[in-house]
């Protein structure tokens, strides 16, 4: 399988992400496998931004450190990324200083862009050159340009098309093609989509019938809100932008008490503000989905960078004890299906569901294949209909049932009047302080845990069954690890439903594993600690990274080789 990595770098405001996405989508449409990864600082103008596209003849799920084509829109890009170049790599630039020995194509990007009528089009001139290097046609970008610039008018589209063509022609004169005759797309599946896990999550929420998303903007969760806000009228739900995260989770809980599916979303800092109310959802037994897209922490940390630092926090967040789900998808496709399952689980068990992502998957572009809108059916459970409620002589919202789950009457229903109480309460919902009822209510809530354990998706073991080495990780490390273990005698246990903890399966697999290595994007190996707590298995080899960057594929390969040789 052949693969080429392209990076576009420059100042914020240069249109790095826009042009990167146009190229990524074009290559994806052509049938290549694509993974898009962006890096940017927390500011709007200036600072260094990059968008990297790994494009392959087959499917891929990760970014590499090594790049083949670097589009440098400023000198800083050359200096910061020349270490990522290899012998055959080439820099596309406009009269920058390039060290001797580095292949480069000097194109008057600015001058050519101005010829089309706007200096802004210089990215497009560079993309034209890339198309030539990849042995594609200059017209391949036309659809993408029309899609992006169409709303700005025909003139803008034509201008950009012209810019692409100019870049293509210059490259033709100056450069050798990177791609050879064997460089052909090999993916033929239909119903394909290139999108981030945030976009997929938003789509999943709509497909699950979520009626209220209450949130306060916080990177890297905000694009969920953007997508939902733009689609709320078409699909009849409401995006409520609140004054803060406390109001956001409060509103989501209030909405959920009326019987609708409701959710809130944020990053770690916002989640901290929500924790008191998370317990309120639990004690009132209100179904709720809370999304946390992690970023580098603590406090403000590195606001636009990635980390898996919140796992143990999610498992324990809020004072007191209560059952919850913690679900951590590993890519966009899992995000789409698992968020829908999350709404079903929240409603079935009347518990909070924490949906845990991070900047890496929230903002990276994944290739999705054969997406199925009907795969996760909506299961509405636990409600009493109007007739049932009206006939009840003695409705108990918190009836002490065998399963711990009690049927819900919702506000507006005659005969179901009750208190949804954050004070601990009796079966009707009245506040209590008496010891026996308190114990009974705690036991009632925890009764659900056994059934919840039966409903989680077991972790998947990727790769050969009896491998020399077993990697263990959760959530967003999936993509890099899967690409790294290709053709190796190494397998990977990937956890997505982390709480309740899938103790049996983890014990069974790790108990038999020859060698184990933990892969986590945090400092302390939090999943490793949970595994030890739940299974008594201690993982000694820990591959941990906490510099704000995700695992690049080669790093995982290198570490695997090191451990295997030991």
């Amino acid at each position: 399988m052949r693969e080429i990595a392209i990076k576009i770098g420059g100042e914020a405001g240069f249109g790095i992400k826009v042009s990167g996405l146009i190229l990524a989508r074009t290559l994806f449409k052509m049938g290549f496998g694509v993974f898009g990864y962006s890096e940017y600082p927390s500011l709007i103008r200036g600072g260094h931004n990059t968008y990297q596209i790994n494009v392959s003849q087959g499917k891929i799920t990760s970014a590499t450190r090594k790049i083949d084509i670097l589009i440098a829109l400023n000198q800083e890009t050359v200096e910061l990324h020349k270490d990522e170049l290899t012998k055959g790599s080439v820099i596309i630039h406009d009269s920058l200083k390039i060290d001797n020995g580095i292949k480069n194509i000097n194109i008057p990007l600015m001058e050519l862009a101005k010829k089309t009528g706007s200096a802004l089009a210089r990215n497009m001139v560079a993309l034209g050159a890339v198309l030539y290097l990849l042995d594609a046609k200059a017209t391949q970008l036309n659809d993408g340009l029309a899609l992006k610039f169409g709303p700005k008018g025909k003139k803008v589209v034509e201008m950009n098309k012209k810019a692409v063509k100019l870049g293509y022609e210059v490259a033709k004169k100056k450069g050798d093609r990177l791609a050879d005759s064997e460089w052909q797309p090999a993916i033929e599946e239909s119903s394909n989509h290139l999108m981030t896990a945030n976009e997929a999550t938003a789509y999943g929420m709509i497909n699950a019938g979520c009626k209220l998303y209450a949130a306060y903007p916080m990177t890297p969760a905000t694009s969920i809100m953007h997508v939902l806000a733009s689609k709320q009228r078409e699909h009849n739900f409401v995006v409520h932008q609140t004054e803060d995260e406390i109001a956001a989770i409060g509103a989501a809980i209030g909405a959920a008490t009326t019987g609708v599916r409701a959710a809130t979303g944020t990053s770690g800092g916002g989640f901290c503000l929500m924790t008191e109310s998370l317990g309120m959802a639990a004690i009132t037994e209100t179904p709720l989905v809370v999304i946390n897209s992690q970023r580098t922490a603590p406090a403000t940390g590195l606001p636009t960078w990635t980390e898996q630092g919140d796992l143990k926090f999610m498992v324990n967040a809020s004072h007191g004890e209560f059952p919850r789900f913690v679900i951590a998808p590993g890519d966009a496709e899992e995000a789409f299906y698992m968020i829908q399952d999350g709404f079903n689980l929240a409603e079935k068990f009347q518990v909070p569901v924490i949906f845990l992502m991070d900047k890496m998957i929230s903002e990276s572009d994944f290739s999705m294949y054969g997406v199925d809108n009907k795969k996760v059916a909506i299961k509405r459970e636990g409600f009493l209909d109007d007739n049932e409620v009206e006939r009840l002589a003695d409705y108990k919202r918190y009836a002490l049932s065998k399963t711990g789950i009690s049927k819900r009457a919702v506000p507006g229903q005659k005969g179901g009047v009750h208190i949804i109480n954050s004070d601990d309460h009796d079966e009707y919902g009245f506040s209590i302080e008496e010891s026996r009822m308190r114990t009974k209510m705690m036991d009632k809530r925890f009764k659900k845990l056994k059934l919840m354990e039966a409903d989680i998706k077991e972790p998947v073991l990727y790769g050969p069954r009896n491998a020399k080495l077993t990697l263990v990780g959760w959530g967003s490390v999936k993509g890099s690890v899967l690409d790294a273990i290709q053709d190796k005698d190494v397998n990977f246990l990937h956890l997505t439903y982390i709480w309740p903890f899938p103790e049996k399966r983890v014990k069974a697999i790790l108990g038999k594993a020859k060698r184990i290595m933990l892969v986590e994007n945090n400092k302390t190996g939090q999943l490793g600690e949970i595994i030890r707590q739940e299974t008594s298995i201690e993982i000694k080899n820990k591959f941990l990274k906490y510099d704000g960057r995700p695992f690049f594929r080669e790093e995982v390969v290198r570490e695997i080789n090191r451990i295997i040789k030991k």
Binding site: H193, Y203, I206, N207, G209, K211, L212, A214, Q232, R233, H235, N236, F237, V238, H240, T242, E243, D244, I246, A247, A248, I249, G250, A251, A252, I253, G254, A255, A256, T258, G259, V260, R261, A262, E276, S277, T284, V371, N373, K374, V376, A377, I378, R380, V410, P411, G412, K414, G415, G416, V417, H418, I419, I420, N421, S422, D423, G429, F430, S431
Partner: protein, 281 residues
């Protein structure tokens, strides 16, 4: 014929101190709901934590007992999800003007159709009488043993500045008058805020029923038009200026509500819409 108490009392008796101002507010609220011909199942009340919040257990409607300062957020969510409910949020001065003050400011700004009743006794009474955001200067409490040094907030001014479309002040010692205000507040389309002067017989020896009676007067008995914003600002500051406390409707305006501007809700309340898998992809 059934009475307001028969319709809206639960089997739990109030736990407030004998003589507490909350009894008057409670009675006025039940009377207002009754006179508006509402049934318990049509009403959703979100309560704060505190003495007034303990009313959750005594009043028969759908109720949400929230966290301290957080009576409004669940009420807002419930109203968006089910616009057909009559939604109120009940809270004390500590929660409304301290811990959760941002929710007042922003709910007023959204103009969501919720009635916000604030029992203002100028103390944190459930925690035995500490100074609250409305405690007067120099007052001694367990947390201000040498006298409060901070200036109290003026809740009416704050509410007006935030865009409240209905603002009133009531007095727990005048049930009939208060009940009438609450009726108007519930009837108002938009955010309605009623600050209620509530004597605390256990921890506030300064602002007693007697004292309030000596400073309050009814706006309706004077020529007063609540439609004038500038006059409302003046009335809201009257106590600071000449030690008189107007009670009644201080300000009222017609403004589109938050949910009125959501075409998603035009046909049917969100909670009544059937959900199905979509063709999102």
């Amino acid at each position: 014929m059934i009475t307001a108490n028969q319709k809206f009392n639960t089997e739990v008796s109030p736990t407030w101190c004998p003589g507490c101002g909350n009894y008057g507010i409670w009675q006025a609220l039940k009377t207002a709901l009754f006179e508006l011909n509402l049934d318990p199942h049509q009403v959703y009340i979100s309560y704060d934590i505190g003495c007034f919040g303990n009313g959750t257990n005594f009043t028969k409607t759908y109720a949400f007992h929230s966290l301290h300062g957080r009576a409004l957020p669940p009420a807002v969510g419930a109203k968006i999800a089910n616009k057909d409910l009559v939604v109120l949020a009940l809270i004390g001065d500590g929660g409304a003007y301290g811990e959760g003050v941002q929710h007042l400011i922003h709910s007023a700004r959204y103009n969501i159709d919720i009635t916000y009743l604030v029992a203002n006794n100028q103390r944190f009474s459930l925690t035995t009488g500490q100074a609250s955001p409305t405690t007067d200067k120099n007052i001694k409490t367990p947390t201000t043993p040498f006298g409060e040094t901070k200036q109290p907030v003026n809740p009416l001014m704050m509410s007006l500045a935030s865009g409240t479309s209905f603002l009133a002040r009531g007095f727990a010692g005048d049930q009939k008058h208060l009940s009438n205000i609450i009726k108007q507040a519930i009837g108002h389309k938009g955010f309605s805020h009623v600050d209620i002067l509530q004597p605390c017989v256990s921890f506030n020896k300064e602002n007693t029923f007697e004292w309030y009676r000596s400073v309050v007067y009814k706006l309706e008995e004077h020529e007063y038009d609540p439609g004038e914003y500038n006059r409302a600002v003046e009335k809201s500051q009257e106590f600071e200026v000449d030690k008189k406390m107007p009670i009644g409707v201080i300000y009222k305006e017609k403004r589109e509500t938050y949910t009125d501007q959501m075409p998603q809700l035009k046909k049917e309340a969100l909670c009544k819409q059937k959900i199905n898998n979509t063709n999102i992809f």
